[in-house]
């Protein structure tokens, strides 16, 4: 039987992945250098080499952890379809290779190519190696988003039917309500956001979690975008506001656009790349929405820890991080924080 305990056992994982790979690549290949990456919100990430002859191929297994009725994330088959579609449209993503099948005995998930590089946001923002690259990251972010937003979302069946797509505020309220924790600051934000909600206009294909931390970069620029489990449809201002939310500045609060630069530079780069105007007021509303959403995601991670679905010190810390995000939220609404 496939259990969380089995997944955490590196020997069990190695053997199961070996069988899974040999089913597809043949008996003459071997598996080596298996490693668990940081546990993400919904997917376990396992890196491994496929060795055939002298040239190893580094791959990544993205494995759904215990599927939860509380999870706001796309099921892995939809994630895989999203990856296929954006890859075909030239968005930089790890190349999708195959989806897991029942015979793999690895649960739900898929395998993509591994991409070397840096993902740690603080290093991207603060290390000397990347400090001169911030402007490039900002420009590339605008260009990639502009391109992504032109993809026809109908290519991913079900994407526009998600509650995140049809009723974004209602989706967050529903998610928050599932955890049964009273957070008056978040309730206040719901009320504030409902009162000032702008018209959202056309619905576009959105990454849903496009930010510093969900990309692999090198010293030449952004290599690939990761973590597509929040993809949905919506106003492009949602994506622009999320990218500029205060939570991704990692100590550099002056660098409002993703910790890479100022808002106006990012807005203009997006306008130039997309040919569409950025609605500044709407984007600011989405920034507040984004900080509220991030607070709820921290409650979700803490809940995952307390329910023993996904135990980790990081998820326990998320519970106590929620108040810090609420503090940002209220200070932004009060216009004391930018």
């Amino acid at each position: 039987m496939v259990t969380m305990q089995n997944y955490d056992n590196i020997e069990y994982l190695s053997e199961t992945i070996r069988v899974c790979i040999k089913r597809r690549f043949g008996d003459d290949c071997e598996i080596a250098n298996i490693a668990l990456a940081t546990l993400g919100g919904s997917n376990r990430t396992v890196l491994f080499n496929v060795v055939r002859g002298s040239y190893p191929l580094r791959l990544v297994l993205r494995q759904e952890t215990v599927p939860s009725e509380y999870s706001p994330f796309l099921p892995s088959d939809m994630q895989y379809r999203v990856l296929e579609v954006v890859y075909e449209h030239g968005i930089p993503v790890p190349r999708p290779l195959f989806e897991l099948e029942a015979a793999d005995n690895l649960g739900q998930g898929y395998v993509v190519t591994a991409v070397p590089g840096e993902t740690l946001p603080k290093r991207l923002i603060n290390s000397a190696e990347y400090v001169t690259m911030r402007a490039r990251f900002l420009q590339q972010s605008a260009e990639i988003l502009a391109k992504l937003h032109t993809i026809d979302h109908v290519l991913v069946p079900g994407l526009s039917a998600l509650q995140e797509s049809s009723d974004p505020l209602g989706a967050q309220i529903a998610l928050y309500d599932r955890y049964g924790e009273p957070h008056p600051a978040i309730e206040f934000a719901f009320r504030y956001l409902a009162k000032y909600e702008p018209e959202h206009g056309a619905k576009n294909f959105l990454h849903g979690d496009f930010r510093n931390g969900n990309m692999i970069v090198g010293t030449e620029g952004i290599r690939v975008l990761l973590d597509w489990e929040c993809a949905h449809t919506g106003s492009v201002m949602e994506e622009i506001g999320w990218f500029c939310a205060r939570s991704w500045r990692f100590g550099r609060v002056d660098l409002a656009a993703g910790g890479f630069g100022d808002r106006e530079t990012f807005y203009r780069a997006y306008e130039k790349a997309s040919g569409n105007l950025v609605d500044r007021e709407s984007s600011r509303w989405w920034e507040i929405f984004g900080v509220m959403r991030w607070a709820i995601y921290n409650i979700m991670q803490s809940h995952g820890h307390l329910s023993r679905e996904r135990r980790s010190p990081a998820f326990a810390a998320c519970g106590r991080n929620t108040g810090i995000i609420e503090y940002d939220l209220l200070k932004i609404i009060a216009k004391e924080f930018d």
Binding site: T38, E187, F188, F190, P313, A314, A317, R320, Y327
Partner: protein
Amino acid sequence: MFNDPPNASELLLTVREYIEQLLPDLERQDKYHGLCCAYLLDVVMRELEEPPNIGDHSNNALKALLNNKDELSETEFMSSLCASIRRGDQDGNLDRLLILLTSHVSKKVRVSNPDYLDTKDYL
């Protein structure tokens, strides 16, 4: 109940110091979780040291908003306040509520990350 020393704070500090010693030798993933553990111990130490009446003023003011005369537990009171905000009962009080909630949240941040607070919210 009387316990022999070390007291709870000293015990936590002992564990924290040991984690600190381990951190330089840990690899990326373990180091990250080690740092999280050190942070969690800091939170617990601050929580043990926090005077229990800090923030009572804002809590009492929030209770006054609800005309709360019942003896509700802290969780029951927070749930009632949330329901009241959700129903729109506080829509006429939003400016005042924002100030009181900032004070309420500041109390949590004083425990989770006091360095994050604006000076005026610290006191």
